[in-house]
């Protein structure tokens, strides 16, 4: 089965906020959700995106020099 969603794991909620805003300016829908326990032990939030936008998101984050931990399929 192909997963519809991926999540961007980040260091802190502030980082998640920053990513959410940048993605919004590029018209890429995203949603902040609690970090799924099986992906990380962090108690904060991560940014959920559509899996088919993963590569585009990676490019945007890198070109804006935004720090993130990883992008994982949900």
């Amino acid at each position: 089965m192909i997963s519809l969603h991926s999540v961007i794991l980040v260091d802190s909620t502030s980082h998640a906020m920053r990513i959410e805003k940048v993605l919004h300016t590029h018209n890429i829908p995203s949603k902040l959700i609690p970090v799924p326990r099986h992906l990380s032990s962090d108690c904060g939030v991560c940014v959920r995106i559509a899996s088919d936008k993963k590569e585009r998101v990676r490019e945007i984050l890198e070109s804006n020099k935004i720090v993130y931990q990883s992008i994982k399929v949900l």
């Binding site: 802190s12 909620t13 502030s14 998640a16 032990s41 108690c43």
Partner: protein, 396 residues
């Protein structure tokens, strides 16, 4: 003239203590704080539920608004603390090590002087360059005070006693050319005078939200420029940050490294509202209005017999804070009469800045300080001048 909301007894009072904290606040500030308490309420960055995310978004938006306001590209380098004093303490205690030397001026507030005296006990040296009696400084003096072990230059942008501005852009250039770090205490200027961290070559900007940014108290901190990294700046407090919860060591990234414990999100909601207001009315407009009122106040006071006004007497060279004395009358007597008989509120004494008072020649007696703000008007200045003139006549 802009108007802010005052209710009850406060309506008839003339508040001239904006250098201590601005009041009234712009129209949107109190509603934003009430909204946070009533409709958001959750802890920012501690949980993943919708209200926690909503709270975190408000805190982040405040971070971003400040970063934009001071021309700092990365909002994650805006560190919220208890207040600006906390921000200055983070910079001084976090950076300075035994054997380091610091250059500062004779116009500093105790927010800078007391941490420096504390660091002195642990092997940090400092040099205070002497400012002129009107509070001005020739930036070349900073250059001559630099030693081989100098690490940091710290200055206040505007004096909290007499408002005199220091030439931060010129000092910034000297500091950058010498390869040192530059810390600016913007307590009296942020919001009243434009500050550009990139253009003014500021590495660390300590700010307060409750003075000329017109936000609530408890909303200050430190903005850390790109030339300072986390390894170089130690955190003063450690604790829960809502991030890296599996580890018992402090996170090593900004802003979490320096923001342990729950933040003053209610206050930051208010600050975000005041920054939105400030961006709409524009700093240049407030600056122009205050400059006019300040000059009116200086000129008016100087026409009253037995009054001495300190500082440059030129509103373009200072913030709208006017320091003065009446010959033969204690500042405390004047402060009390202004309050009790005329409903005018100001601050008298030494203003937590003994060094600045020594520089302008008012130590140990202090002076009277009128701190004007964005909500003052020409009739306010006129009322203050008439009241002072009456006291001068009666006391002579």
């Amino acid at each position: 003239m802009m108007s802010g909301k005052k209710v009850g007894e406060a309506k008839n009072l003339l508040y001239l203590d904006n250098a201590a904290t601005s009041w009234p606040k712009p129209p949107g500030v109190a509603p934003a704080m009430v909204h946070f308490i009533e409709s958001v309420g959750a802890n920012p960055g501690r949980s993943g539920h919708r209200l926690s995310v909503k709270a975190a978004r408000i805190v982040y938006d405040a971070r971003e608004a400040l970063a934009r306001f001071f021309n700092m590209p990365d909002p994650l380098r805006v560190i919220f603390g208890l207040n600006i004093t906390d921000g200055i303490n983070l910079a001084l205690h976090g950076l300075l090590k035994q054997g380091d030397h610091v250059v500062t001026t004779s116009m500093e507030h105790n927010a800078v002087m007391r941490p420096l005296h504390q660091k002195e006990k642990f092997g940090v040296e400092f040099t205070q360059v002497a400012c002129e009696q009107d509070g001005t400084l020739n930036p070349e003096q900073i250059e001559s005070a630099i030693q081989p072990n100098t690490r940091l230059v710290v200055v206040n942008h505007a004096s909290n006693v007499c408002g005199t501005l220091l030439p931060i852009k010129e000092i910034g250039k000297i500091v950058r050319d010498a390869g040192l770090l530059f810390l600016v205490d913007s307590a009296q200027s942020a919001g009243a005078i434009e500050i550009d961290m990139a253009g003014d070559l500021i590495d660390l900007l300590a700010f307060t939200g409750h003075k000329s940014l017109y936000g609530p108290m408890g909303t200050g901190g430190l903005i850390v420029g790109k030339r300072v990294d986390v390894q170089e700046l130690s955190s003063l407090r450690q604790g829960g940050t809502g991030s890296r919860s599996e580890r018992e060591e402090q996170p090593d990234f900004m802003p979490d490294c320096y923001e342990s414990g729950t933040s003053n999100a209610v206050g930051l909601a208010g600050l975000l509202a005041s920054l939105t207001w400030l961006n709409n009315v524009e700093v240049q407009k407030i600056q122009a209005d205050e400059e006019k009122l300040c000059q009116q106040m200086i000129n008016g006071l100087m026409e009253i017999p037995n009054i001495r006004v300190y500082g440059t007497h030129d509103a373009k060279k200072q913030t709208a804070t006017v320091a003065w004395n009446m010959k033969g009358v204690e500042p405390s007597t004047i402060g009390m009469r202004l309050d009790e008989e005329f409903g005018i509120l100001c601050r008298v004494g030494l203003h937590c800045a003994p060094s600045a008072h020594r520089t302008i020649g008012t130590f140990p007696d202090g002076c009277v300080r009128f701190g004007l703000g964005a909500f003052n008007s020409e009739p306010d200045v006129e009322r203050a001048l008439q009241s002072v003139a009456r006291i001068a006549k009666e006391e002579s």
